[in-house]
């Protein structure tokens, strides 16, 4: 494209990977939390069916969000490879 | 397992308010003061007398309905609590865990009977009230919801007494502070599942009715008298 693309310094690249990792940590901890609440509702004889319904909706949404981000990150890294097209 | 319930005979009730006072001292309710009560609309009672006016003008008649948490078998408040701070206990009492309550007041908004109260400030017990605190009942901090417990501490104590005497809990062993203090003996407390109990017999009287039974929450406080 324009001028010369600025090369990404190493530490920034590491930071980018770490941020994508953080998103997964966030999403996985939300999933673990929801599963914990599900287990709690079983143990306390609460209403597991309601909790189950919420968790099968909520967890995939979070995972999808994180997957899209990861897909973009990986895709951008791969797409930026040396094989520059005309 | 007992299923605690109560009957209140409205034809006997004189509206003296003794039950309210007894409830306050028994359960260590905070004294919120006149300003809070009247100017801020923050009356603080587990049990209060609701005036019910029928007729108008010179024909008007007022009767008082002692109103506390009606201990629903299907409590709308317990359904919505986000942290399991209010729940239906095994003996049918809607319990409140003060140390877990986050003070969101969702249960108050969901209760069709407005039976719950909130500690808007740090509870105060001025003067001698501080010395007269009932050691059996925990003191609530600010910012939590509280409600009538059917004098749960009395049930625990009566059960211990009966156990140490080596007998089962009998009808009349437990009574709540409001029932005990009532000079007209309008309030009866007991086990609704005990076939011998007075409260069971009274709750099946043709005069018995429940507040807003149409909502399907199945309260365990029965009123005796003419319905509305």
């Amino acid at each position: 494209m324009n001028a010369t693309p600025t090369p990404t310094p190493r530490w920034i690249y590491a930071l980018q990977i770490a941020s994508v990792g953080m998103i997964w940590v966030f999403v996985l901890s939300i999933s673990v939390w929801i599963l914990h609440l599900l287990r709690l509702s079983y143990r306390l004889n609460d209403v597991p069916s309601a909790s189950f319904a919420i968790s099968i909706v909520a967890i995939p949404v979070f995972v999808t969000g994180a997957s899209v981000l990861t897909y973009v990150f990986v895709g951008l890294q791969r797409g930026a490879s040396t094989e520059e097209e005309p | 397992m007992a299923r605690w319930g109560m009957t209140i005979d409205l034809d006997r009730c004189t509206g003296c308010g003794g039950c309210m006072a007894a409830c306050h001292t028994e359960n260590n309710l905070a004294a919120v003061g006149a300003t809070e009560t009247f100017e801020e609309d923050r009356a603080f009672h587990w049990l209060k007398l609701l005036p019910e006016v029928s007729g108008a003008g010179a024909e008007a008649e007022v009767r008082y309905i002692p109103h506390m948490c009606v201990q629903c078998d299907n409590p709308p408040c317990a359904l919505v609590c986000p942290v399991h701070a209010t729940y239906l206990s095994e003996e049918g009492i809607v319990a409140q865990i003060y140390s877990r309550c986050i003070g969101c007041r969702y249960c108050m908004a969901a209760c069709p009977f407005n039976a719950k109260v909130f500690n808007w400030y740090e509870p105060e017990r001025p003067g001698e009230i501080e010395q007269a605190v009932n050691p059996d009942v925990s003191l609530r901090p600010k910012g939590v919801v509280e409600k009538c417990t059917f004098c749960h501490h009395r049930i625990v104590r009566a059960r211990e007494d009966a156990a140490s005497a080596g007998r089962a809990l009998a009808d009349g062993d437990v009574t709540t502070a409001c029932a005990e203090s009532c000079p007209a003996r309008a309030i009866t407390f007991g086990d609704l599942d005990d076939p011998e109990s007075r409260v069971r017999r009274l709750s099946r009287s043709p005069r018995a009715f429940r507040q807003h039974a149409d909502l399907g929450t199945s309260p365990k406080v029965f009123y005796l008298g003419e319905k509305e």
Binding site: I30, V61 | R105
Partner: protein
Amino acid sequence: MSAGYDDQDLELLRPIEEAGSGFRVMTTLMLMIILGGWVIFSRQILEGLGVTGLNQPVGWGFYIVNFVFFIGISHAGTLISAILRLSKAEWRRPITRMAEVITVVVLAIGGFHPVLDMGRPERMLNIFTAGRLQSPLLWDVSSISAYFMASTVYLYIPMIPDIALLRDRGVRPRWLYNFLSWGWQGTQRQKAVLDRAVGILMILVIPIAVSVHTVISYIFAMTLQPSWHSTIFGPYFVVGAIFSGIAALMLVMIALRKIFHLERYLKEIHFAHLSKLLLVMSLLWFYFTFSEYLTAFFGHEPSEMRVFLYKFTGPYAPFFWGMVACNFVIPVIFLSFRRLRTIPGIVIASTAIVIGMWLERLNIVVPSLANPRLPFPTGFYVPSLVEWAMFVGAMATFILGFVLFARFFPLISVWEIREGRHEGVSETVERLESYLPDPPENLAVRSAHGEGEAT
């Protein structure tokens, strides 16, 4: 695509490259207002919720009203921009970014409000350790956090090419743009990845956005309280949310157009399209309100009627009729006639709608609580200084969010405008041609050769 970029869109980057003192003044001012709000709020932390105007029957007030209101506004963004992108509305290009920023900023503000409302905010963690997914409040926690995540991602991903542009132009702070641009170089493969990701997100975001306000309405609808316990509350809240969201979006667009001189980008035509959408939402809002209150009135249930009369003729009549005027009468007058549908007219209509939708939330939360079923005295609610301070603070936070965003990122998507210039026009022509009926020769050939073998 060809290298080199049109210089005519670079004025969009000027607020970032030449950030003046205006930015610093605004940030300081807003931070001071927010700080002032927190200072006043500290009384509530020290003394308890008693410092608010909340009372025994009316246990929920400003905090919950503002919670519902702000989350409603947040539907401006992501939902509008997702729908416009999905329907390939070409006029969306200068609008989507602003709409998405509104969503993220307002969602953070709104989502925080229930914490202000708690009697014991330090026990927040109980929701994580001992939460009950059965409670509608937990549905809110999960759907709002899902929406926040999805809308942040949806704001961020289409922003990557613009961030890379800033990086390549050496704008400071360099490390920030370098970090956020994720190695974007604008290659064909990268563009394909971005397009696909935006394509997935815009579809993902719509059901989440709808679910968020549905679930907020469930907080009320799941209880048995008169005029809350209603099956249409979900759609009613969603419609109201989109309605207030578009109005807020228009106000933001008009304000930013004035401040950053974006008249070349945000043209009359954009406002004309959006105001027609707003008019439709106003009518839809009226339809929902009408059917909601008609059912209550026709059934004539005593506890329902007590709330009904409280709103129609009782203490809340000014707020109720004010709401009807703001949400229906004023917008319909100003948006129906072309002569009134000017920028000032749109400002009046949108301001009215934002106020009216706030009043609607007030009319939903307070009257039901103020009218208990049993013969309790009817309640009334007057917010205290603390609640007003937090309301003003929330507004200041909203402005601060926009100021900060405008300082570091372009408010109008540069690459999407450019894409519109280069590819959008030819693409639209192509698309339009594909909608037109096939030419008759084709038909003749097809019927002659049987199926499939089109020339």
